[in-house]
Amino acid sequence: MSNLLSVENLTMQFGGLTAIDNLSFDAKNNEITSIIGPNGAGKTTVFNCLTGFYKPTNGQMFLHKDEGKISLRKYTDFKIAHVAKVARTFQNIRLFPAMSVLENLLVAQHNELMVASGYSFFGLLNLKSYRDKEQLAIDKARYWLDIIGLTNRADDNSGDLPYGDQRKLEIVRAMCIEPKLLCLDEPAAGLNPKESAELNKLLKFIKKEKKTGILLIEHDMSVVMGISDHVVVLNYGKKIFEGTADQTKNSKEVIEAYLGVDE
């Protein structure tokens, strides 16, 4: 299986504090890679570096595409999603609460729709070409809503949904930009066991059907062990282990990091 993401010697320093120290790991195509570690290990910092929110102090992050590899350092702000096709979700759900479920999914398809609307001119003239494209976008939204079972709530405000549904919506919204790499920041946080199982199902579906690589930060071990093909363990900003889910469960270093060592 080829590499999708190569992180090489990534270092992130905030003043005197080193949040990430010389981190290197790979995430493969069509696989689910989880990043785990105790709180403060630097997991969200890695995400923020990958998705253009922080500028790394050192190191490289490459995304491998068909045409070759691109350096994620070059993309900041909205370009990460628009050009590099890296999507992410957030620890604290960031939906557009006053907008409907459908509208949330349409905003995700903004860029194609903008072009289709002729930067609004065709749209203002209500041309058929735009209307058709808009219908396609709605169809795509319906497709994803069907998968997560929210189709009949498409016109409700997204802020009115129960928490578990909001999480799922955030994920499928990210999928609407057709990303190559999907970064999920603690998607199972706050979910009960039934909802976690549904989340697992959704992520496996995405991996299999959409051929999108998934990078996951998680604390919930039922999710991590249930679906990960590959696990990277961080502690104090350093990688202390990398391997399959089973290997991770049994690794001495990982157990020490989480549970401590008998003195």
């Binding site: 969200t44 923020n48 929110f53 957030f90 620890q91």
Partner: protein, 303 residues
């Protein structure tokens, strides 16, 4: 050269006045995250109260230094009442609301205050005889004599004293700590048993008192006031607060001095009519390169 020094002196004086008003803006912004649009009009009310007090005391035969002290205290007292009331009426009910709500409320309050004073005191400008006159002269033998008036010295010295007092207040006392805690995390501060409402009220009272001192200085320095002086001084003082870094007390004073100097030098060397434009233009330029001002804390939103 002498002209330059004169402008420098004038600029520092004006800057002190702006700085005192700016402190009010920066403290309020720091603690409840809103621009108190009505603050400039609080300054204007301070000026009016000072004017009225000066007139009354002028009729008595009391010595000048006593008058200054009394007027200072009276202005601070009555203006603080205004600041307190405005907070309770227009801002406190909106503390949980979205960002724009207190801003509109503040705008409305500003309009109310301006027109209230206009109705109560009349729309005409109010002149006053200069109370403090005379000064020191330098470079007496050159073409341009630099005059540093006693009034200017008084203003700057008073400003320095007040800065000292309030910096001590903020950094060393319980109140200051409570204030800084509220700035960081209001909910947590309340959970720790600190009376957040009272802390916020005191912040407004302090800001208003300092603005009233600026008002008193304005009356003495310019000799004429009207109900509209709050608007322009207010925007410039807010510009100063942003320049220095919103939320920072020394930043507010620094910003005030900067604005005072920029305005004075621009008026003196380039163009008198466009001096107000200078301050705004500087603001725009600075914010483009320093979005959080010179001494401001950068705003890192946690993702």
């Amino acid at each position: 050269m002498e002209y330059f020094i004169q402008q420098l002196v004038n600029g520092i004086t004006l800057g002190s006045i702006y700085g005192l008003i700016a402190i009010g803006y920066t403290m309020v912004y720091g603690i409840i995250g809103m621009i108190n649009f009505a603050h400039g009009d609080i300054f204007m009310i301070g000026a009016f109260v000072a004017l009225i007090s000066f007139i009354i005391f002028g009729l008595t035969g009391v010595a000048l230094p006593i008058i200054l002290l009394l007027v200072l205290l009276i202005a601070m007292l009555f203006t603080a009442c205004y600041g307190w009331t405005v907070e309770k009426l227009a801002y406190k009910p909106l503390r949980g609301s979205f960002r724009l709500a207190p801003l509109i409320s503040a705008l409305g309050m500003s309009i109310v205050l301006q027109n209230y004073v206009q109705v109560a005191q009349g729309a005409r400008v109010k002149p006053m005889q200069p109370l403090i006159s005379g000064g020191l002269e330098f470079f007496k033998n050159s073409e341009f004599v630099v005059t540093v008036s006693y009034l200017q010295i008084f203003i700057v010295v008073l400003t320095v004293i007040l800065m000292g007092i309030f910096t001590y207040l903020i950094t060393k006392t319980d109140l200051g700590r409570a204030q800084r805690a509220c700035e960081q995390d209001r909910t947590m501060t309340a959970l720790l048993g600190i009376n957040v409402d009272r802390t916020i009220s005191i912040t407004f009272i302090i800001g208003s008192s300092l603005a009233s001192v600026a008002g008193m200085m304005f009356v003495l320095y310019y000799g004429v006031i009207d109900f509209y002086i709050g608007f322009l001084a207010g925007i410039k003082a807010f510009t100063a607060a942003v320049l220095g870094g919103i939320g920072s007390l020394p930043g507010a004073m620094l910003g005030g001095l900067l604005i005072g100097l920029i305005e004075t030098f621009w008026a003196g060397y380039v163009s008198l009519e466009y001096k107000d434009v200078a301050a705004f233009s500087v603001l725009i330029v600075v914010l483009i390169f320093f979005p959080t001002g010179f001494l401001g804390k950068p705003d890192i939103e946690k993702v």
